[in-house]
Symmetry: C2
């Protein structure tokens, strides 16, 4: 990336989100995204395969950081404690600067069937990766899969709360509160 293109990726990402919000995901072309960012389509394709990747390129980084946190949890951690480490891993990534981007992203995904499917596949893979990492720590089945799926349940609800318009709490605080809440709710049945 040359000096004449400071943070091209970030500018393209923001331009894409603005355009998706204004004209809809389907109508937004790569050329229009690039133009809004003051760049060329050619430059766009240096950073992203297609416009869908603008929304999902962070997913793999996210999954890797969560798997690493689960692996690095204290040796004596229970399955749910190890999962809690994984869920807290993106707390720095999901900071205030990213919340507005995440809000627009969430509304674009909710409005577009194809993207919603992609998001569900991403979460399904994340769950499988968590279960695998739990088994690698010595937890058997069904515990590994059950904790992984319950963790994804917390992640989904936490993320939905975090991007809520009136929400002020940090992602990390929300995850912490939901893990306590899940314990309480699961206990009374």
């Amino acid at each position: 990336m040359g000096r004449w293109e400071p943070d091209g990726e970030g500018r393209l990402r923001m331009a894409a989100m603005e355009l998706f919000a204004e004209v809809g995901y389907e109508q937004a072309t790569v050329a229009a995204i690039a133009e809004r960012a003051g760049l060329t389509s050619r430059t766009f394709f240096r950073y992203f395969t297609d416009k869908r990747e603008v929304l999902f390129s962070g997913s793999e980084v996210l999954q890797e950081s969560m798997v690493a946190a689960l692996r690095g949890a204290p040796t004596d951690a229970t399955a749910m404690e190890a999962m809690a480490f994984a869920l807290q891993a993106p707390a720095d990534f999901f900071d205030e600067d990213r919340r507005d981007f995440a809000r627009v992203r969430a509304s674009v995904i909710a409005a577009t069937g194809e993207l919603h499917e992609r998001e569900l596949i991403k979460l399904s893979r994340l769950s499988a990766a968590m279960a695998e990492a739990l088994r690698a720590r010595g937890f058997g089945e069904p515990d590994a899969s059950l904790v992984a799926e319950a963790g994804i349940a917390v992640f989904r609800v936490a993320f939905a709360q975090w991007v809520g318009l009136a929400e002020r709490r940090t992602y990390g605080d929300i995850v912490g509160a939901l893990l306590v809440r899940l314990k309480t709710l699961a206990a009374v049945h």
Copy 2:
């Protein structure tokens, strides 16, 4: 349905599953499914919109029965108890006669990306329907969404166990065991 076509739907369903297992979902044509069932394509389309629907036509019935069970749970039921009623609702539907069909169905879905996506969408809708029914019972957020998602977590793991090759327990027994296990696992974090 005339007397000369006893249980046409059931025969088509079984023929489709056999063919999917033998030649793969992509290669199986409606004509070949119908022929194997001793029926015509025209008859196939009286029961199903396309071959995908052979695998998913039970989903809506399932969702309706689960929502009805959640609505009909005792007035003083906790959110998780009401969810447990919903999870136990398909216990009669998922009987021994259906287990072999469900096993083949699960392997066909796992092997075909398009079907896997469809399954994820179905589960996402089921979760939304459960959360809605919990809110209708007076539970607020995040409890309704959290219990719905945790319930779907149990459902996914229960179903995966139930179709496991060496599994002998009933679907209902598996769900019961997993709900107890979730309580234990969630408690230690």
